[in-house]
Symmetry: C2
Subunit: 257 residues, 2 copies
């Protein structure tokens, strides 16, 4: 039994929720697909910004099946897509097939997702507050500029997990072992220093649950390329909707060093 294929099948059949907790133990990925004449800029942007944009696979122009998920179709196997035109969000759809047909040369980038290291945190007894509350992880735009590449630039987006102060060091140690899925935190405490003024108002995902004694810990987030698409006015792009990831067949352990 292949839980990755099953999860993708259920999404193809109509499941349209967030994917946290689906196919446990398998890597989930962010999607950004752009026309081939923008592909070098995007790949260079990911190469220069590996913490927010760790590549787990790149599909060549027009390809729709990832080597990480045999039998998959990137146009149908994500539970929600965003369509971007000239940097503006112009549509959200459950099936991207017709959007793809308008740009048959799309190059799809699959980018690691911090869902992958949450399993490791949980195994170490570190609470994942948003999971406990049945919410999506809170994500924030920061004032930290990514390194530009060609026509692509933008600020980093981070995900935040409130961690008990006594377990912050352990959370760093564990996530540092997963460089392909954002790795160690980029910032710990002091949200204002990275331009986050109100933790209760995330730019993506759900508001956080923060207990007494928790420290806000920030990881680079795979939604960063979406912010860069906006900031850079990319003429056309298809991405996943935040929290709705592409589920691969790759075990999370593959990405532990």
């Amino acid at each position: 039994m292949n839980t990755g294929a099953e999860a993708r099948e259920s999404i193809r059949a109509g499941f349209d929720g967030p994917t946290s907790g689906l196919a446990p133990g398998l890597v989930q990925a962010n999607l950004i697909a752009v026309p081939v004449d923008w592909a070098f800029d995007v790949l260079l942007f990911t190469q220069r910004n590996p913490k927010p944009c760790p590549i787990v696979d790149v599909l060549e122009p027009g390809q729709v099946e990832s080597v990480l998920a045999p039998g998959s179709d990137i146009r149908t196997d994500i539970s929600g897509y965003r369509i971007w035109t000239d940097g503006e969000l112009t549509d959200e759809v459950a099936d991207a097939t017709s959007a793809w047909e308008t740009h048959p040369d799309l190059v799809s980038f699959l980018i690691g997702c911090s869902f992958t290291f949450e399993t490791g945190l949980t195994a170490a007894g570190i609470p994942i507050r948003h999971q406990e509350a049945g919410r999506n992880v809170p994500m924030y735009r920061t004032s930290t500029a990514c390194t530009p590449a060609g026509r692509i630039s933008g600020d980093m987006v981070v995900s935040m997990r409130p961690i008990p102060a006594s377990q912050v060091a352990e959370a760093v140690r564990i996530t540092d072992r997963f460089p392909a899925v954002h790795g160690a935190p980029v910032h710990i405490g002091e949200p204002a220093q990275i331009g986050i003024t109100d933790l209760d108002s995330p730019d993506f995902g759900d508001p956080p649950v923060i207990n007494d004694g928790d420290i806000p810990v920030f990881w680079a987030c795979g939604v960063t390329p979406q912010a860069a698409i906006q900031a850079s006015g990319v003429p056309f792009a298809i991405t996943h909707s935040p929290g709705k990831m592409f589920i691969t067949d790759e075990p999370e352990d593959t990405y532990r060093r």
Copy 2:
């Protein structure tokens, strides 16, 4: 005093030898420059083959100064260049300026070089036989196919260092700390298994000096993209000549993890 700038200045002034031992402690890099319409394929090839092709910098189309070497000019600051046309080596020159003018949109990729970790090996008391003999490191084509990307494919090229059997494990441990400059060996002993039939006849560099009790240890080599250019018939490319590297201002420690 900046030894990187000084080394580049002496090359610009006419030094045309190999660069091993120049500007000790600073990272040296392999060069591959291709027209912009081949840049995505090459960048994807490096992304899919990080051991032979670890990127340390990518210069955008037409740029000639690397951020790793302020004031440098990639067209003049390498002590020997190879010019490739339709996959054939068509010229070797000491100054690439006029070749560059024929393709002003060249994208230059700087790829980590195993010279960088030799300092670490030496510091641990591990002999570097080719350095002791005043030779260039021997490099071999292998039968190990790289993962193709778009129009680019080819077999891996490796460098070989004979290491005393008692120190092989330590050599692995040390070089594994330098993933940005090829990292741990790809093969230890048994050259025939990777298609190398005669260690005394390397495809690039000089024949090896192998002492009794030495084991041949193979590292992925930054000459790999040159073999891929040949195998793929890339219409135009400029690379460094083997052993003649681009010297940056980056301390080797930057690339240790």
